[in-house]
């Protein structure tokens, strides 16, 4: 692999991996593994679950590599789709279809000052808690749109629904989040001014 890694597409990296290039796996993991983990964290709400989903999704990517046909789809789209389905499967298996409202919040970033960290940490915890109250598909659509900044057509491909359905899910999800957070404005340090 002579070209700088940044110039090599995910597609090409996956083909290199299938052909025995050991560095391609590390590059793909750095590019895609962390993104899948971030989405899984937001959708599952529990670190251990997100880690399992990420490892399983990446394992399926490795196993699928020899059959991958470059140019037909984006590797990231395929991987997000696998990860989202794994999230849904785990939620259904674990809770019989009910969404768990008691999520374990992420610890605040220790690099910030204590006061800032507490407030921002509390706000991010509130965001995560509000996300976990959304129906499963709404939560996925909101996370992919507003945290991963994917386009609506790409989200439609990942979730196997129409673009209009994505727009509807994200709009309803965002309104529900805003409503959930509005009741906690004072607690979260927002001023009315």
């Amino acid at each position: 692999m002579n070209a700088p890694a940044a110039e090599v597409s995910d597609d090409a990296l996956l083909v290199l991996y299938a052909n025995g290039d050991s560095r391609a796996a590390a590059e793909l993991t750095a590019r895609l593994g962390s993104r899948v983990f971030g989405v899984a964290m937001r959708v599952m709400g529990i670190r251990a679950e997100a880690e399992d989903v990420t490892q399983e999704a990446m394992l399926r990517l490795w196993k699928m590599a020899p059959e991958w046909r470059p140019g037909e789809a984006q590797v990231s789209t395929w991987l997000y789709r696998v990860a989202m389905n794994l999230c849904i499967d785990r939620k259904r298996r674990a809770r019989g279809g009910y969404v768990d409202l008691d999520v374990v919040p992420e610890p605040p970033d220790p690099a910030r000052s204590a006061a800032e960290a507490l407030q921002e940490g509390a706000r991010q915890d509130a965001l995560q808690a509000a996300l976990m109250q959304l129906p499963e598909r709404q939560r996925q659509a909101v996370v992919l749109r507003h945290l991963e900044e994917l386009s609506n057509p790409e989200i439609a491909g990942i979730m196997d629904i129409s673009v209009e359905a994505v727009e509807s899910l994200t709009a309803r999800g965002k309104r529900a989040l805003a409503a959930a957070l509005a009741g906690r404005r004072e607690e979260l340090g927002y001023n009315d001014g």
Binding site: G33, Q55, M58, L59, K63, A65, R123, L147, L181
Partner: protein, 125 residues
């Protein structure tokens, strides 16, 4: 009311922006586990690759076991020469029948011995 909604949506967008700016890092342990899976899966591709090669017919495997077409040509020539020497041995080659103690049928000892035995028996009568 409308202003409250707009404010809430704006605050939500700000929260999204903060969340985007601080994506969770892939834990080292998970990164290592993913790469270990990748190595295992890759080893499986390489182990499976020879099995996908087309199998050769048995006759071709036999020819290759004997040393390929040149060796097979030599073997055929040697076999033909051996057969010919057996059927029509050259003069300088000893007769294998003679070496084995047999002679032509016209001078067969058992036949002579039989005649002599008959003559002797007739003389005795």
């Amino acid at each position: 009311m409308m202003a409250d909604t707009d404010k809430a949506l704006q605050e939500l967008d700000d929260l999204f922006a903060v969340a985007r700016s601080e994506p969770p890092a892939l834990p080292d342990r998970l990164n290592a586990a993913i790469l270990a899976d990748a190595v295992r899966a890759q080893a499986g591709f390489q182990a499976a690759a020879p099995a996908q090669a087309p199998r050769q017919p048995l006759w071709r495997e036999l020819i290759e076991a004997l040393g390929g077409w040149p060796a097979l040509g030599g073997l055929a020539a040697a076999s033909a020469a051996g057969l010919w020497i057996g059927v029509a041995p050259p003069s300088f080659v000893p007769d294998p029948m003679a070496l084995a103690g047999y002679e032509d049928s016209s001078t067969a000892v058992p036949y002579d011995s039989y005649d002599m035995a008959v003559v002797l028996s007739e003389d005795l009568q």
